[in-house]
């Protein structure tokens, strides 16, 4: 049909379009690369903003004050009675010492600001010192005491906006400068953040309660979901006959893996708390809910791990007289275990970061005590983050980011272990 057209005609059309097509090719490639870079930039921005916001919460500012343990203030009766010592007003001690450092403060407004300069646990710190060693009475000693959380933020340079630099904070800043010149203020590692439970006061708020709560919850989750998940995977992969029932179970599991987590929370509220009457806010209920959520993940991972064990292993086991149960438990399962565990760890890591279903079962309560049993009221790390993110105090902001860093560290550890397990034991059949 192309008899009449000159020989070069088609080639011309192709050649004419070629540069355009090559450009289109380049553009397409660029868009692909750009979207990967964009994704990675999102990741980077996320990490940088969290770390930049939160690293400062790992330190806290202390001020060295020359405290005179005046018996007239702490022990007016002179009995050295522990009850009287515990009830005394230790705030007066540091207030007096601070006033000595800043004798120019006379105005009422300023004085009030100065009286709020130290943190509320300064009082407790002094009390503990005196109760431990009553011999301090009447002596003068230099003591490092924690400052108020606003002062802490100012010292770290976290408050910079003009609206945040109100009159009181400007006073604080000038005092901080004086203290710095005298070498009386410095930041040190914030141990309280890792050892305390939650608190309304940012300076005393710590994550230990939430970490313990998370540990209890995860123990229940792992203890239940691992055996049940492995057993279900074994049944479905190795023993189940192919019929409508097993099809139903399979569809069910795939669906459950995609059900929103908050729906599991509703289930936990209606079934475990209202029907079975298990205690609200407890790691027990939280663990049960997370178990139901993690199960589909473990079952799916378990099935694919079992599937990857070649049939020759099964045939060999059966051939030398093993029963099907022996074949699975003695030969197939050990070979599939690393794969199953990898999936289980990833599922557990997801459970560790989950918070929505736990809000439903009351794990959002404000809990100061470190949980002691599986049934005591507790909260978990992600929910603690949620609670702190909601707090209006400025100092909770950096603590939220710091708690996120701790949570991410745990997650990275778990996932890293899963990757290690996969690398170390992965087999190509």
């Amino acid at each position: 049909m192309s008899d009449q057209s000159p020989r070069g005609h088609t080639l011309d059309i192709v050649m004419a379009g070629l540069s355009k097509r090559r450009n289109a090719e380049k553009r397409f490639r660029f868009f692909g690369l750009a979207s990967i870079v964009l994704g990675l930039v999102f990741l980077l921005v996320l990490f940088i903003s969290i770390i930049g916001n939160g690293y400062s919460a790992f330190t806290y500012s202390n001020v060295a004050l020359d405290i005179t343990f005046d018996p007239a203030v702490i022990d007016p009766e002179g009995q050295r009675n522990p009850a009287a010592l515990a009830a005394a007003d230790y705030d007066t001690l540091w207030k007096a010492s601070l006033l000595k450092l800043f004798p120019e403060v006379t105005e009422r407004q300023e004085k009030r600001a100065l009286n709020a300069f130290m943190g509320f646990s300064a009082d407790k710190r002094l009390k503990d010192m005196v109760i431990k060693d009553p011999g301090l009475m009447g002596t003068t000693k230099t003591v490092w005491l924690p400052v108020d959380d606003t002062v802490d933020l100012l010292f770290k340079g976290k408050l910079g906006n003009e609206e945040e630099l109100n009159e009181r904070n400007q006073h604080y800043q000038s005092w901080i400068k004086t203290l710095k010149d005298q070498d009386r203020i410095h930041s040190s590692f914030n141990r309280e953040f890792f050892t305390n439970g939650d608190s309304r006061e940012p300076e005393a708020a710590g994550i230990w309660g939430a970490v313990v709560g998370s540990a209890f919850t995860l123990l229940i989750t792992i203890g239940l979901s691992l055996p049940i998940g492995i057993a279900a995977a074994i049944y479905l992969e190795e023993f189940a006959p192919r019929n409508r029932w097993t099809d139903l179970i399979e569809v069910n599991i795939n669906n459950l893996a995609a059900v929103p987590s908050i729906v599991f929370g509703l289930l936990g509220l209606a079934v475990f708390i209202n029907f079975f009457g298990l205690p609200r806010s407890s790691p027990l209920v939280g663990g049960l809910v997370l178990t139901l959520m993690t199960l589909p993940v473990i079952i799916i991972a378990g099935r694919s791990a079992l599937k990857s064990v070649p049939p020759s292993v099964r045939e060999a086991a059966l051939g030398i007289g093993a029963s099907p149960v022996q074949m699975v438990f003695d030969h197939v399962l050990p070979l599939a275990l690393p794969g199953i565990l990898t999936g289980a760890i990833i599922g557990t890591a997801r459970a560790l970061g989950e918070s929505a279903p736990l809000l439903m079962i009351g794990m959002v309560a404000f809990i100061v005590d470190i949980p002691k049993t599986f049934t005591s009221a507790a909260t978990v790390l992600p929910v603690q983050i949620y609670l702190w993110a909601d707090s209006p105090e400025r100092a909770f902001n950096e603590r939220t980011s710091a708690a996120i860093m701790v949570l991410l560290a745990f997650l990275i550890l778990m996932n890293g272990f899963a990757v290690y397990l996969r690398r170390r034991y992965e087999r190509r059949w």
Binding site: A231, V259, V263, V271, Y386, L408
Partner: protein
């Protein structure tokens, strides 16, 4: 004995039963000179199971039933006047008082009537504990003795043990079904109670959502409006924004990773992108509220746009970042599953690589990609923490992504966090919303899974 001690005791006994009977079976075979039917260990397992299961069963029975029997017994000692006409919550309070008095942790003045009931409660607790200890130890011991009496060289211990194992396996596989039934029932029952108070048509087609219920009958203002439409539009709006972010980025990333990238680049970039899916949603929520929303608001102010600090845009954008990996890894799988022969055919016709991808590979992988996008959409609709932390609470019926909207999940959380009264429509509404959410995501999931499954079969 305490239940935990009893539990440990039973476990210890059954371990001992395993060890001793494994040894017994071995010596039996040696002394009688006959071959055992099963390996010696199976005789051990058999006796261990018979030792543990009866006791554990009783223990479970106690755990489930003891509480209600004890409280019924204790409440029976209360004067009838206290119980008449008392609401369930009041009875619950009475029960709590009785329990704390019985444990000696009650603070304040103790009502003599409560004291009587508490004494009864401690007495019953004592009896129940003794009964449980005696019963479960007897049951375990008799199980053990029965099993031991059956052991001889012809006994098919392995078959019995394997039956138990299989029943256990089936039971575990059925938990998935029970979970689904549990979800459906728990959500449905409370929803039906809700629909008895609020007509279902008002719920499904109402245009106004304000769940505040007047505390007194004569109180002015809100009597509660439960129209779900504003919530659904809010949810869909945020999900749309999320998909608009995630689908192009995820799809292009998947194409680049599977078609262009060198193996080394792929080995680094793919896990890094997938980290985005592993970050807890509460972190995204904080990120949205702390960084993205203020950033958008300031940027809007610069160019003269008014962007709410709880805008759908901020929540949707961050949610989009979160679901990028869902889109990209599923698409990646399906693009990889397209046979190389299709690509080779296109190259042979002179197509460039991008033309091949756009006109051959993507159309071939499209059903799978669509399935992946549907799964991502279902994830976006059900996502909770991001919207709780970054989206608003006021139910505006608007399609403007710069305004504050609220979502189904946000409302579930706000309705259920705090005091719950299971007789007010306010609390029950959360379950009705849960039902809507469950049905919506279920439809999406089933559709997606069906598409994915059908597609998988196509090239296998």
């Amino acid at each position: 004995m305490e239940k935990s001690t009893l539990f440990l005791l039973i476990l210890l006994a059954s371990t001992l039963a395993y060890l001793s009977n494994t040894w017994r079976a071995r010596t039996l075979a040696e002394t009688s000179g006959q071959k055992l039917h099963s390996l010696p260990g199976f005789y051990g397992y058999y006796t261990a199971l018979w030792c543990a299961l009866p006791g554990l069963f009783l223990l479970l029975l106690w755990l489930l039933g003891e509480g209600s029997i004890l409280t019924t017994g204790a409440l029976a000692r209360l004067p009838q006047s206290l119980l008449d006409g008392a609401a369930p919550e009041q009875i619950q309070l009475l029960v709590n008082d009785i329990k704390s008095v019985a444990q000696g942790s009650f603070e304040g003045q103790i009502d003599p009537a409560i004291q009587v009931a508490a004494d009864r409660f401690s007495e019953l607790t004592q009896w129940s504990r003794i009964l449980l200890t005696v019963l479960s130890i007897t049951a375990s011991l008799s199980g053990l003795l029965f099993a031991q009496s059956r052991i001889n060289t012809d006994f098919r211990a392995r078959n019995h043990v394997e039956t138990v194992v299989r029943v256990f396996l089936i039971g575990c596989a059925l938990t998935a079904i029970f979970t689904t039934i549990g979800i459906v029932l728990s959500v449905l029952i409370e929803s039906i109670r809700f629909f008895n108070m609020v007509p279902i048509t008002d719920f499904l087609f109402g245009l106004k959502w304000s769940p505040q219920i007047a505390m007194r009958a004569d109180q002015a203002g809100s009597s509660g409006a439960f129209g779900v439409i504003p919530l659904l539009t809010g949810t869909l709006l945020i999900s749309m924004v999320a998909l608009l972010v995630a689908v192009p980025i995820g799809l292009l990333a998947a194409i680049y990773l599977s078609e262009y990238a060198s193996p080394n680049f792929r080995a680094i970039a793919k896990p890094l992108i997938e980290i985005l899916a592993g970050i807890p949603t509460v972190v995204y929520g904080f990120f949205a509220a702390l960084v993205v929303a203020p950033f958008l608001r300031n940027m809007g102010a610069e160019i003269g746009l008014e962007i709410s600090s709880e805008s759908a845009l901020a929540a949707g954008l961050v949610m989009g970042i979160m679901i990028i990996p869902f889109v990209s890894s599923l698409s990646d799988d399906f693009i990889n599953a397209v046979p190389q022969s299709l690509r080779d055919g296109a190259y042979a016709l002179g197509a460039t690589q991008s033309e091949t991808i756009r006109q051959v590979v993507i159309p071939a992988a499209l059903p799978g990609i669509v399935g992946g996008i549907l799964l991502a959409a279902s994830r976006a609709i059900g996502e909770t923490m991001i919207v709780v932390m970054a989206a608003g609470l006021s139910a505006n019926l608007t399609l403007n992504p710069l305004a504050a909207v609220t979502t189904v999940t946000t409302q579930i959380v706000t309705l259920l966090v705090g005091d719950q009264e299971f007789d007010s429509p306010k609390t029950l509404a959360a379950f009705a919303l849960g039902l809507i959410l469950f049905i919506l995501t279920l439809c999406l999931n089933i559709m997606a899974l069906r598409i994915v499954r059908k597609y998988r079969e196509q090239y296998e």
